[in-house]
Symmetry: C2
Subunit: 418 residues, 2 copies
């Protein structure tokens, strides 16, 4: 079979399996996830053996230490995949929820009910745990899943997929509900991305290159985010101590992630006092600042920011700092340079808090807390399948509910249209 035929078969089988999955009770889905969790633990030795093949190939190919670390499976990571599946089993099932129902003048009752999307394709890079994590979320929400991981993790992903399929078979469920694409041919992704009749959604997880490739080549809807250039605006009325604590946390606690702060905006009325204070706080935390001219007036040791700094996602202990005239200028800066990810204001002004929330249309808008909370589990969505900074379907961290859609349900008593 050609790659195109192979992918078409994978997708058709997934579509057929999805019809069965959509009708499973919550109890059956939870039992399946529990069995998958136990299955992974029981298969730990085999998983580590298969993973060793990937690691050996990676070492031969000269992968970096960081890449090899991402690829590696040990008992702790296998345990953690199992825990993840059990956590998803414990989450409420979104399928079947009726989000509203109303009566029309002619007596028809009209409502909207959550249903699975159908078939979800996940295209990801080196971490093999994504195979189990993504499968768990897709299955719990009643979806079939096609998993296409990186070729460097092919043995690990295939072995994890085998364990998951075993449990589907054991429960007499269609094993095509979880499919790991085992060909490492790069053309396979291209073929998958054409199958709009059988795959309902593609979620790419990985670097910006992968995400752009998928977005540009897919006929299937893609949910994605490229980067997080998150801002904090310290308003004139801010509590300095709170502002410092939040700003330092947002930059320093884990600088390499998408919800870390990349640009700090400071109201000009407090620049003279707050700029030196925050510059000192960041210096203590090893953060390099790049500031506008007013920032540098009050903190002369700060480097000069260039235009590129306002666009930068450093993912590092570097921060751009700009003094702004007022709330309007802060919002305008965010509209111009932001990435629609997460922006926060620190303020004691009720009016400014309200205005910031109304006027900033990023996927997360935060008052008086760290941007680092922008995350599915911190928001209480349970596990996270990804984050979206495009507005269609989902915007922000995505949980189980985002893997569903809503159909209209209509109950009548013989009504006809006149």
């Amino acid at each position: 079979m050609s790659i195109a035929e192979q992918m078409k078969q994978v997708a058709t089988e997934a579509r057929n399996a999805s019809l069965v999955l959509a009708t499973l009770s919550t109890a059956v889905k939870n039992q399946l996830l529990e069995k998958m969790a136990s299955g992974l633990i029981a298969a730990a030795d085999r998983l580590k053996q298969e993973n060793e093949k990937d690691l050996a190939a990676g070492r031969d190919k000269g992968l970096s230490g960081a890449m090899l670390d991402r690829l590696a499976l040990d008992d702790k990571r296998i345990e953690s995949m199992a825990v993840g599946l059990r956590e998803v089993a414990a989450l409420p099932d979104p399928v079947g929820e009726v989000t509203g129902m109303w009566r029309r003048p002619n007596g028809l009752q009209v409502g909207r009910m959550r249903i699975p999307l159908g078939v979800i394709g996940i295209v990801y890079e080196s971490r093999p745990n994504v195979t189990a994590d993504a499968a768990g979320l897709c299955l719990k929400s009643g979806n079939a899943v096609v998993l296409r991981g990186g070729s460097e993790a092919i043995h690990s992903n295939t072995a994890i997929g085998e364990v998951l399929k075993q449990q589907l078979r054991a429960m007499s469920l269609p094993e095509a509900a979880v499919q790991v694409v085992t060909t490492t041919d790069r053309g396979a992704i291209n073929e998958l991305l054409k199958l709009e009749d059988d795959i309902d959604l593609i979620i790419p997880r990985g670097g910006e290159g992968l995400i752009r490739f998928v977005a540009q080549n897919s006929r299937i809807p893609v949910i994605k985010h490229y980067k997080g250039v998150c801002h904090i605006f310290v308003d004139a009325s801010a509590d300095y101590e709170m502002a410092e604590k939040i700003a330092v946390n947002a930059k320093v606690q884990r600088p390499g992630v998408c919800n870390a702060m990349e640009t700090l905006l400071i109201h000009k009325d407090i620049a003279e006092t707050f700029v030196p204070q925050i510059a000192e706080a960041f210096a203590r935390n090893g953060v390099e600042l790049r500031g506008c001219s007013i920032t540098r007036e009050f903190a002369p040791a700060v480097k000069e920011a260039t235009d590129e700094d306002w666009d930068a996602e450093y993912l590092d202990l570097i921060l751009a700092v700009r003094v702004v005239e007022n709330l309007d200028e802060a919002v305008a800066h965010i509209n111009r340079y932001g990435s629609l990810h997460t922006e926060a204001i620190v303020t004691e002004s009720y009016q400014h808090a309200q205005q910031f929330v109304q006027r900033v249309n990023s996927s997360s808008v935060v008052v008086n807390a760290s941007t680092r909370f922008a995350d599915g589990s911190e928001y209480g969505l349970g596990a996270e399948i990804g984050i979206s900074t495009t507005k269609l379907h989902s915007f922000g961290p995505m949980g189980l509910e985002d893997l569903t859609t809503r159909k209209f349900i209509v109950f009548g008593e013989g009504q006809i249209r006149t």
Copy 2:
């Protein structure tokens, strides 16, 4: 300027305008729509003059009578655009609605607030009323809109657009909030569909050819539906009189629309009595039936159905009829041949009604009522911007709410992540 540069400018201006629109109060938006309605009525003579240019060109090009009728603007149609804008003004504003808010263990309050999508592109064919109707829905939901109608309606669309822009200017609002693409160069659509950074959603309205072209060439998310192959399943326990009334209504009341029934499925236990009854009813209504072998056993005058009939969207007084073993076979038929538009069951069985609603995942699933109700205004959504038979973002008839997305809003008291 090249076409590409022109379209880029249109989209950039729309993006800038959308930032203003997103912050308008409901009162201002309603006032704008009221003024636009009055403006159209006041400009009726000019609109008819410009429309006459399109009609003359259409006659020269040899457009059919039906095409010319679609294109024509008279006082009644201009009045009807105005009424449409006033109706949209009267609808509740979805923007700003907080659809839920909850408190996390650390005290953070997390909620989701509806916001406009941003910039919406509408690509449509000959009816000039779409210009006003679509603009009204986009503006009320706080979005800027780029309208690209058919070249045969260019004078009419441009004139309507001018009236709408006049009212934006009169209220000191950015006139780029409504833009009619005035170039008739076909390449303009191609260029628009590339501008994923400035346009958030494309809605194509027109024939299947246009919709497929847009879907295949767009980098921007597209909400669409190709066709409606709607089914009614008459269960063994159905009330015959109700079943006949519903089936006839669903086929005959307006056969040329997407929510008309195209295939009737009948439970085998009632075939002997119900098939002759319904065949007679359809004969009285001038409907040609194409049936399976069992149907023809009980209604010998019925033509034989071929495989193509199960896929057909007749949009005409023709109906495919099939006798099925049971509910399972009815659902299997719908899964195989349906278009995810609208399916109905006629039954007196509680269990079968429940099962049909659970197991059929079309965008509308109806019990004991005509499929013809699958429509935004019949469902109480107010005016309809379109209908989606793809599951992402919206599924089924789309109203104002579907032109919004939800951002997360987070209220803290200085929380940081540890």
